[in-house]
Amino acid sequence: MTAPEMDGDQTLHSSLHSLRGEYEGIREIMRTRRKDMPQAQVKMNVRKASEKVSIIDVEGEFNAFAEVVLMDAYNQASDGQVRAIILNFEDLEYMNSSGIGLLVTLLIRINREKQKLLTYGLSEHYRSIFQITRLDDAIAIHESEEEAVRAANSL
């Protein structure tokens, strides 16, 4: 090999080495995060009520560990046409304050997309929690799916 070829190879080798180091660093960060996150005890099913309205059925426990599931469901529910997301809480079994935090971050994201967030299926207990945390100032609570869909379609 000539000197310039050797220099080129060394530069490429250094770059690859550097990239490999960064890749390993990122993998370590992800491993650390996965280690710290127990399994989510929640299922979410996404369905369409209309072209502009999607419904996410929440079943199980709504706490900090539900974040990934919730965001995946939102990504699935939200395409360019959707203007409203409805959360169905009929099968909600448990929610703690971290779950409330999740709803706030979801709401911020939805507002950024110029969409609306509505809910239905909340028991009296969870409605009370929405009132305690003043989430009801920004998230509409409806009695039934029909009512929520009607409200969403009229937005």
Partner: protein
């Protein structure tokens, strides 16, 4: 403190297992017993405000310390944390729990010094279980939102103590203060708390901080929150201390 009676349970449906951990809904904070040393300024009569009702950017900050090298459970860590909550605070941030301590619905009074300025306020415990508790701020508090104190076990079986804050500056004055110096001070306070908690268990591990700006927009619709600014009102309260002293002396002379 008076609160609404609990809602009747729905017929045929069992109460959710988190029902006992949440505080009751109230319109405004009402305080009857003020712990010794605390100041009931900017607490009684205030509404609670969440992360949606403040003015400033919305931040989520997560502080963690791994209690490595000791054999303890999240429940034990939380028990100690609740019991010794005021002791783990730095000197410039005093908390005064009620006799019931850290329990759903209870108010924790706060007397702090922010940049040399006194701030008398409080927070209410809106959620508390064996592994976490969450406090919510009232109108006038520097922050509008929630702080959750929790303990959990990671996959290595190490107990981790965590403080997670999801909040905005309550008004423009606080927002400016946070941008210039306040957020560093706030981070120092929570780092101190976790270090103190860890030291209680004879652990000396670093505190990590992850922060994310959840909403970079300020909410101008809440600019008038400034009228409730606890810092400004606390300053007036402090300046009026000589007047209160004179009144109390006059009161003693002329019963």
């Amino acid at each position: 403190m008076t609160e609404e009676s609990p809602p009747p349970s729905e017929e045929g449906k069992k109460q959710p297992r988190d029902a006992a951990f949440w505080a009751q809904r109230i319109e405004r904070l009402e305080v009857s017993d003020v712990p010794e040393g605390a100041a009931n300024v900017n607490v009684h009569g205030r509404r609670e405000v969440g992360a949606l009702q403040g003015f400033g950017k919305l931040w989520q900050k997560t502080y963690r310390v791994r209690l490595a090298g000791i054999d303890t459970t999240p429940e034990e860590v939380m028990r100690v944390w609740k019991e010794h909550f005021p002791e783990f605070q730095p000197p410039n941030s005093r908390f005064y729990p009620s006799m019931a301590g850290v329990a759903p619905g209870e108010v924790l009074f706060i007397s702090a010094s922010v940049g040399g300025m006194p701030v008398h306020t409080g927070v209410r415990v809106i959620y508390a279980d064996n592994e976490s508790f969450t406090v919510m701020t009232p109108e006038g508090h520097p922050e509008s939102g929630w702080n959750t104190f929790s303990a959990y076990q990671d996959d290595d079986g190490v107990t981790v103590a965590q403080i997670q804050s999801l909040s905005r500056a309550n008004d423009p004055i606080y927002e400016m203060g946070f941008r210039i110096v306040g957020s560093t001070e706030q981070e120092r306070i929570w780092t101190h708390v976790l270090k103190s908690l860890a030291a209680h268990f004879s652990v000396n591990e670093p505190v990590t901080l992850e922060k994310a700006c959840v909403d970079p927009k300020v909410q101008w619709s809440y600019v008038m929150n400034v009228w409730q600014n606890a810092g400004a009102r606390s300053m007036l309260y402090t300046m009026a201390a000589p007047t209160r002293w004179i009144r109390s002396r006059i009161g003693r002379r002329n019963p």
